[in-house]
Amino acid sequence: MTFMGFVLALCAVASGIGVIGFRNPLYSAFSLVANLMTMAGLYALLDAHFLAVSQIVVYAGAIMVLVLFVLMLLNLKVEGGPKLGVVRATIALGAGVLILMTAVQPIFRHFEGMSAINLRENAARTVGDVASIGEQLFGRYLVQFELSSLVLLIGIVGAVMLAKRKSATLAPRDGYQGAKEV
């Protein structure tokens, strides 16, 4: 189990580097898919099957497919990328390390004194299965859950509004009347 965890963690880091490392945006997207999959694998190792499966359904299965869809439609060329001087590269690296440290430090503090195995014992069978997640979502966090769904709804309506307004201002090409409703 621990061995599998290390393998998955290594894959997650490698694919995460791939996301920002590849010049071709399509390869970056595929790396992100791989990253999401390995994260799902880690959740599954912690017995959080529901979380793992919903990670695949929502992120890998729906959102990333849409991203890929758009990338393929746009057919982006491989970007050259900006040339970095030594000074700017050093500053960028330093800033990156600083941000990483501030982000990681509270996580480490939170898990201080917990080894990987007792973490598993603490987390497993109480947070990951369908019933406990359902109880949390529809009990303790009901208001937040409903509010977030409202936010998503606003986002959808806003996107539709923006898209509609743009297509209405576009003059139809000669002869083309638009797709007919059937």
Partner: protein
């Protein structure tokens, strides 16, 4: 050690189940399409085989029969031909992704079989054996997840084809599969409301009970609308039948696998036929009581009951395989806007109404 051994056997059985279902569907497709179109179909390879070897003599009538039925043609000749053909890779794309795409198209389908139980639990040599590779509490969702991952194989295949036909095919496939996943997911939710569990084994077991004391509590009785929606959405997910726009040969050459040849091409077919088997099994398990025979209660935990249950399940599965193939060879292809209208304007609202209605009835009772 014993548990690992049992698990390996189960994996072997389920893998074989998937592949045998796939090859059965291949044969049904070849010979069934001939029947439906009033042709003769494959009936030559192996039909006139002769041998003087004494140890081959007793098997010859059976082999000739197989050849006459087209089994040898579809299973032996076609796969050998696939292995022998040139493995073509188009220029200007990633060779790695081109090689990986067929694997990504097949692997999730085979993985999805892991959460499907193939017989009731039984006890053998004092051990309680679950006839299922992985019994996770989100089993139903896992099938959905694997179905959505299979989109990547198609998308990558179309993109690495490096031509417009392939790309259009894969875009069509991605749009179609995402659109039809929604009603499918909502039908699953309605089923969960009815049976109170995401675990497929529990759902099947609940279907063995009787409603009002005389109607078997099968999914088709509890969710008739859901069954129709899942059948349609499932056929759209397999990209077959009237929904085969991603590979519409009259407009897109062969769609997303235009540039594939040899065994890679056959892998896409394997994935497609395995998916037919997967959906047939899902329909049988979720809507037709799995291994239950109406009004017959088999003893629990006995090995022969498990074997009988498996046979009953397989009869239902083969029925749904045949049904899907008959639909595929009977109906003409959709126009693309009709396809999208059916998905978004018919099936999605219908499945939403179905879900709300189910929830209301469940709360009222």
């Amino acid at each position: 050690m014993f548990e690992l051994f049992v698990l390996l056997i189960k994996v072997f059985v389920v893998m074989n189940l998937a592949l045998v279902l796939a090859s059965l569907c291949t044969w049904l497709e070849r010979k069934g399409s001939a029947l439906i179109q009033d042709r003769v179909g494959a009936n030559r390879a192996g039909a006139f085989i002769e041998s003087d070897k004494w140890f081959l003599k007793p098997a010859l009538p059976l082999v000739r029969m197989m050849g006459w039925l087209g089994v040898i043609n579809t299973l032996v000749c076609d796969s050998l031909k696939g292995l022998a053909k040139e493995d073509f890779t188009p220029e200007g794309t990633s060779k790695f992704l081109h090689a990986v795409a067929p694997i990504i198209a097949v692997l999730p389908i085979l993985l999805a079989f892991a959460v499907l139980p193939f017989a009731p639990d039984f006890t053998l040599f004092g051990y309680h054996i679950q006839a299922q590779v992985a019994r996770i509490d989100a089993g139903l969702l896992f099938v959905l997840a694997m179905g959505s991952v299979a989109v990547y194989g198609v998308a990558i295949a179309g993109w690495t084809g490096n031509n417009k036909f392939s790309l259009l095919g894969s875009l069509r496939a991605a749009a179609q599969m995402i659109s039809y996943e929604l009603p499918m997911g909502l039908v699953f939710v309605a089923l969960i409301v009815v049976f109170g569990s995401l675990d497929i084994y529990t759902i099947v077991e609940r279907q063995g009970e009787l409603l009002w004391g005389f109607v078997p509590q099968w999914g088709i009785v509890m969710q008739p609308v859901g069954f129709v929606i899942l059948l349609l959405a499932g056929m759209a997910e397999t990209k077959r039948g009237p929904f085969d726009l991603p590979e519409a040969e009259s407009e897109l050459a062969a769609g997303y696998f235009t540039e594939y040849s040899g065994m890679k091409f056959l892998l896409f077919w394997l994935g497609e036929f395995a998916e037919i088997g997967l959906f047939a099994m899902l329909l049988a398990l979720l809507f037709f009581g799995g291994w239950h025979i109406p009004w017959v209660t088999l003893p629990e935990g006995v090995w022969w009951a498990a074997v009988l249950g498996h046979v009953v399940l397989m009869v239902k599965v083969v029925f749904f395989c045949v049904l899907q193939i008959v639909i595929r060879w009977t109906l003409p292809r959709f126009r693309y806007d009709h396809l999208m209208n059916l998905g978004w304007k018919m099936l999605l609202p219908l499945s939403l109404i179905n879900l709300i209605g189910t929830a209301v009835v469940k709360v009222a009772l």
